[in-house]
């Protein structure tokens, strides 16, 4: 299967001169669920931003056959839905429905289609009964789901998520895992929660200091004690089967 994202020798340097990413090459196939693991400040979020055409460096990133550069940014963002780390920053409209409708409206769809897509997206994350609520009335778990719904309503091929498991209690995290498992889109998830990554993804990419350290099946990487500890991460057992 042809890769939906193909990154070739991509490097990025921050405006203040520090290296963000160095010579990243990565192919991601359609429908894959990938965990980007690494310690804080390793460059995971930067790589996600680059995939969403929010920052531009050297080398190439091709998303769904389109080169990710400033000119194609709008087209890239139709293919890649980015869920940011803090749902409070993702949910900026007065009500949930308006928030979920924001993306489809910007895509130029008609009101009926926008409403249908929004309600579908809210249905998938189980928030269709709360469409008129203001974001500050939602719980942490609901906010996380709502943030995902705002992207789902745009129906992107690829969804990137930055630390979606932070500030969630175990039950909410399990709900999130089952929700993400049920999605058919290509998922790229940056996280430093190894059990969460193991429960969700088949492939893991370990990043540290802006470089890819390891790339392979999740069980091989996360059980390699020496590798994990040298990059400030913990090992985890592979769950036999996960009950939801």
């Amino acid at each position: 299967m042809a890769p939906v994202i193909s990154i070739n020798g991509f490097s990025y340097r921050y405006p203040d001169g520090t290296d963000g990413l160095y010579d990243i090459s990565l192919d991601i196939a359609g429908g894959e669920k990938i965990a980007l693991i690494g310690p804080n400040g390793s460059g995971k979020s930067t790589l996600l931003l680059a995939m969403g055409a929010f920052l531009h460096g050297h080398g190439s990133i091709v998303v769904d056959g389109v080169e990710a550069n400033k000119k194609n940014a709008k087209q890239i963002r139709r293919a890649v839905g980015s869920v940011l780390q803090n749902p409070d920053e993702q949910l900026f409209m007065p009500t949930l429905l308006e928030d979920v409708a924001f993306g489809p409206l910007n895509m130029g769809l008609g009101d009926e289609e926008v409403l249908r897509r929004s309600m579908d997206a809210l249905g998938i994350v189980g928030l269709d009964g709360m469409k008129h609520k203001a974001p500050h009335h939602l719980s942490a778990g609901q906010k996380r789901s709502a943030a995902i719904a705002t992207i789902l309503s745009m129906n992107p091929k690829i969804i990137t998520m930055d630390e979606p498991d932070t500030s969630l209690d175990p039950r909410n995290r399990n709900n999130l895992t089952s929700l993400l498992k049920s999605l058919k889109q290509t998922l790229i998830i940056a996280t430093c929660n190894i059990p969460f990554a193991a429960a969700l993804c088949k492939r893991a990419v370990l990043i540290d200091s802006g470089k890819i350290i390891a790339d392979g099946p999740v069980e091989e990487i996360i059980t390699d004690e020496k590798l994990m500890q040298s990059h400030g991460l913990e090992t985890a057992a592979i769950p036999e089967s996960i009950d939801f």
Binding site: P94, G103, H132, T150
Partner: protein, 256 residues
């Protein structure tokens, strides 16, 4: 904080809450215009005009104590003006109330009338904001023709008040925890300035990420919104009642 109380009240479910925001907004604006145009100083007309907003407060289940407190909190400026006004107009007049007659000054009556009107229009606006969610008011604004960029600004402002005021409160708590006495104006000033500046910096970062979230969803500067109309029979009934009440006020204006 007052905004969380109002926000909470506006989430109730009563006849008033279910009305379209536009009809409530129009009703309160028209009511305020009528009350302000009653230049007469009679107490009777002010009492009659208090009935409407009072009824709105009760129907909308707004605690009367809250309304009274809010009127009390915001009255100092108008009080100063009203009271000083009384000093400048000392023409003696006789007022009659029932069988009682009282000699007082024109200015004193004027002061009482200004304050009474203030309380009445305050009741009306409290009733409006406590029974209407801000998101509905915003939708009303944009359908009444407010510039979209302004409507969006107000929406973002209200959305992020809850977040940023929380941060400010944490800072105030941190300052109170480490500072045990008054430090002198110079150091107090530099502490306050540093707090405001740091709040400014975090607000800028938040704004940057919100902007990323908007861009990620195809925002290009054009603000688009779903059309919605919730005008119902209840709204017609309500507006008819408001019209009748205004007609009554204007009719009795010359009499009492």
């Amino acid at each position: 904080m007052h905004h969380t109380v109002m926000d909470h009240l506006s989430m109730q479910d009563t006849f008033l809450h279910r009305l379209d925001a536009r009809s409530k907004l129009i009703a309160v604006v028209v009511f305020t215009i009528v009350v302000i145009s009653l230049r007469r100083t009679g107490v009777g007309i002010i009492a009659v005009s208090a009935v409407g907003p009072f009824a709105m407060l009760l129907v909308g289940r707004v605690p009367l104590k809250l309304a009274a407190l809010q009127i009390g909190c915001l009255c100092p400026f108008i009080m100063i003006i009203a009271i000083s006004s009384a000093f400048y107009d000392r023409s003696v007049v006789t007022i009659a109330f029932g069988a009682y007659e009282l000699n007082t000054t024109q200015g004193a009556i004027g002061a009482v009338a200004i304050f009474a009107r203030f309380a009445v229009t305050m009741m009306a606006i409290i009733a409006l904001s406590a029974t209407t969610r801000l998101s509905d008011l915003l939708a009303a604004f944009s359908s009444l023709g407010l510039p979209k960029i302004l409507v969006m600004q107000i929406g973002l402002l209200y959305r992020y008040i809850f977040l940023i005021i929380d941060r400010a409160c944490h800072m105030l708590g941190a300052r109170a925890g480490r500072k045990l006495r008054y430090l002198g104006l110079r150091r107090e000033l530099s502490t306050s300035a540093a707090m405001i500046a740091s709040l400014f910096a975090t607000s800028t970062q938040t704004a940057q990420r919100v902007s990323d979230a908007m861009m990620a969803r195809g925002f290009d500067g054009t603000i688009r919104s779903l059309k919605k109309s919730t005008f119902s029979i209840a709204d017609t009934v309500f507006l008819a009642a408001v019209c009748a009440y205004m007609a009554l006020l204007l009719a009795v204006k010359g009499v009492i």
